[in-house]
Amino acid sequence: MTPLKLLLACAVLASGAAAADPAPDLLVAERSPLPPHPSLYSFADVVRLTLGAAAPAGPAAPPAPLRVTSVQPAAAEPRFSIEPVREPGRWRLLVSGLALAGWVARRRLVNAL
């Protein structure tokens, strides 16, 4: 809690003529969220803030459970993709056709000789 909040908690008490409260109701209040503005704080809110901020260090508390978070995405699942087989362009067909025709003509010419 920041010093400002500490002072605020004291100031609310000093100005509000506040007082204590019945424990059972306070326990309920401990689970409710704080009002959006300090001017709306109830005595239960002030008690909660005061005791929460000023609680003395007690006997060794059990350690908080360790957090286990995943920083890496889960093991990459195999991904499949379907892409169209690229067909040769028109100029490639033309060149390959001319090459084939040239090879056949050359072969015939060689055989004729």
Binding site: P3, L6, L7, A9, C10, V12, L13, G16, A17, A18, A19, A20, D21, P22, A23, D25, L26, V28, A29, P35, P36, H37, S39, L40, Y41, S42, F43, A44, V46, V47, T50, L51, A53, A54, A55, P56, A57, P59, A60, A61, P62, P63, P65, L66
Partner: protein, 251 residues
């Protein structure tokens, strides 16, 4: 915490002090009774210790981010320890408890459980004044709600039952004096709250019943006051510099 306070890389050599009962040894590292108040806690500490040992083997304490986090935790512990030392003697006396009880009858001796009808109105300050006059004339909140609707004012209505300690402190002195059927207007951060008391049930708290909580509360308040005074004193004598426009950016 003791581990954090220990010099970096020293493991938990200082975790147990002479005379402390050792509950477990984890690869030679001792876990004392002071660290583990219950069997369940002991198992959790053992598991944490195993992980810490692996982290130290991997020299994680030299990782800049880890080192920064360790230093931050250590400073937090030290700051808290200083406040605890200063406020160790903060206690409330019986006279203070009695005075607090007597000074706040709406919360104790004259405590009531209130059933209220409430209109929370969002309105500029000038409308709040008009609303105040209108609330003084209105027979009930329904009439006031109709008036608000005719002005296209934004509001919400609710019926609630709350004990005194859960109502805003700023409203309580007035509510404590109200009789069933009465209407009161309270300024709120963004407008006003108009409240009609439907019913109030007497539910006083005796001094003996309230004293334990008052004692805790007053002691807590003293600790906060000591902490606030110490921070103020330290700031006054310290040299605090804000290089460049860091302070402006922090705002």
């Amino acid at each position: 915490m003791l581990l954090l306070a220990a010099p970096l890389g020293c493991g938990r050599a200082d975790a147990t002090r002479p005379g402390m009962r050792v509950l477990a040894k984890v690869n030679g590292a001792e876990i004392s009774a002071a660290e583990a108040p219950s069997a369940q806690a002991l198992e959790r500490i053992i598991e944490r210790e195993l992980l810490v040992q692996k982290a130290l083997e991997a020299r994680l304490e030299r990782d800049p981010a880890v080192a920064e986090a360790i230093d931050g935790a250590r400073r937090q512990v030290l700051a808290q320890a200083w406040i605890e030392r200063l406020s160790a003697g903060a206690r409330s006396t019986r006279e203070e408890v009695r005075a607090f009880y007597a000074g706040n009858p709406a919360l104790f001796a004259e405590r009531r459980i209130y059933r209220l009808r409430e209109l929370a109105v969002s309105a500029p300050a000038e409308l709040v004044e008009v609303l105040r006059a209108e609330a003084a004339r209105a027979a009930d909140l329904e009439e006031l709600a109709a008036w608000l609707r005719s002005r296209n004012a934004r509001f919400s209505a609710a019926t609630l039952t709350q004990p005194a300690e859960q109502l805003p402190l700023g409203m309580l002195p007035r509510l404590a004096r109200m009789k069933p059927g009465e209407i009161a207007l309270f300024a709120a951060p963004r407008g006003a709250t108009v409240v009609q008391l439907l019913h109030a049930e007497e539910a006083p708290l005796g001094e003996a019943q309230a004293a334990p909580l008052i004692e805790r509360f007053l002691a807590g308040r003293k600790r906060l006051e000591i902490a606030a005074a110490e921070v103020k004193r330290l700031r006054e004598v310290a040299s605090i510099e804000y290089p460049g426009d860091i302070k402006a950016r922090a705002r």
